[in-house]
């Protein structure tokens, strides 16, 4: 485990989180929402549990679909995290943190890219990252397996 820290652009939202080596496997989402929200693609690590924010972080929540919400800084609009709305009752929330926030990110690797059929054509596919289309992603979540907030290989 290693302790990582990060913050938004203006510094009003700061976090720390313990990460395992497996947590360093980042994912890119190219869906139309992520593309518009970030201006390119959203790069995340996680979902991670145990993310600790400063108590006065001005986090705004955007419910972007029936199954997802996004946290951003109310002062500078830096994207902070993506979170599933279908997490088990009573479980500690697991959130996917934006890679760009981390002070130390040199050892992150890109494991997979999703919604690749909606990618901004400008951004090339990463040579070694798993590539999944919208249909492939949706299929994985309609097979009866509830999202449990645990890191998975490719979703």
């Amino acid at each position: 485990m290693s302790l990582r820290r990060g913050q938004c652009l203006c510094g009003a939202c700061r976090f720390e989180v313990e990460m395992t080596p497996d947590d360093l496997r980042a994912r890119a989402c190219h869906c139309q929402d992520c593309r518009r929200w970030s201006g390119g693609a959203v790069y995340v690590v996680g979902p991670l549990k145990g993310v600790r924010w400063n108590h006065d972080a001005p986090i705004e929540l955007l419910v972007s679909s029936s199954w997802a919400e996004r946290g951003f800084c109310g002062l500078c609009a830096s994207g902070l995290y993506w979170s599933s709305r279908k997490q088990p009752d009573g479980a500690e929330e697991a959130v996917a943190l934006m890679v760009g926030l981390f002070d130390d990110y040199a050892d992150f690797e890109l494991a997979s890219e999703i919604f690749v059929d909606e990618r901004l054509p400008l951004i090339p596919a990463h040579a070694t990252a798993l590539q999944r289309t919208r249909a492939e992603v949706i299929d994985r979540y309609q097979d009866g397996t509830a999202y449990d907030g645990k890191p998975t290989e490719d979703a």
Binding site: L9, G11, A26, W37, G40, A77, S78, G100
Partner: protein, 155 residues
């Protein structure tokens, strides 16, 4: 759109804009502030004649340094614009991912290249410009405008 006229906006629609794409293409910036603001990199494109706002109710600006500011939607947190602090209204860099449709743009340069996350491989032929070269060319700002915005690389 062959005449270069494009429209775009944020994820929720509280900011909408239109304009004519310049033929320069897209400049990607990997400075720390752009990584924080846009979750990975800021993909900046320019409009010839400036940005025309058609819906501005969500638009807010954050002064991210002594010389730059960033426009975003305060309702949904989408990262939209970068501007010199003293730029004329509409003379802004526009986030490529916020454009509607696919204008088929290409990179013309990557700046703060040495600050990029390790998984950005830059297979395209556009020039890659390091942080030191940027400061040598434009001069490094002496201080950030806002507490917390100062970082080892900031624009």
């Amino acid at each position: 759109m062959s005449d270069g006229r494009v429209t775009g906006g944020c994820l929720c629609g509280a900011v909408r804009f239109e304009g004519t794409l310049s033929d320069r293409g897209v400049g990607a910036c990997y400075c720390k502030q752009c990584r924080q603001f846009a979750s990975g990199a800021f993909h900046a494109t320019r409009f010839a004649g400036g940005v025309g706002l058609t819906e501005a109710r969500g638009l807010k600006w954050f002064e991210s340094s002594a010389w730059g500011k960033r426009g975003f939607c305060c309702a949904c947190g989408s990262s939209l614009f970068w501007s010199m602090a003293d730029a004329a209204e509409g003379d802004w860099a526009v986030s490529a991912g916020a454009l509607d449709g696919d204008p088929e743009q290409r990179f013309y340069e990557h700046i703060f290249w040495d600050r990029r996350p390790g998984y950005i491989d830059g297979a395209d032929a556009a020039p890659k410009v390091a942080e030191a070269e940027i400061w040598a060319k434009y001069g490094r700002p002496s201080a950030a405008a806002k507490p917390g915005a100062a970082s080892e690389d900031s624009a």
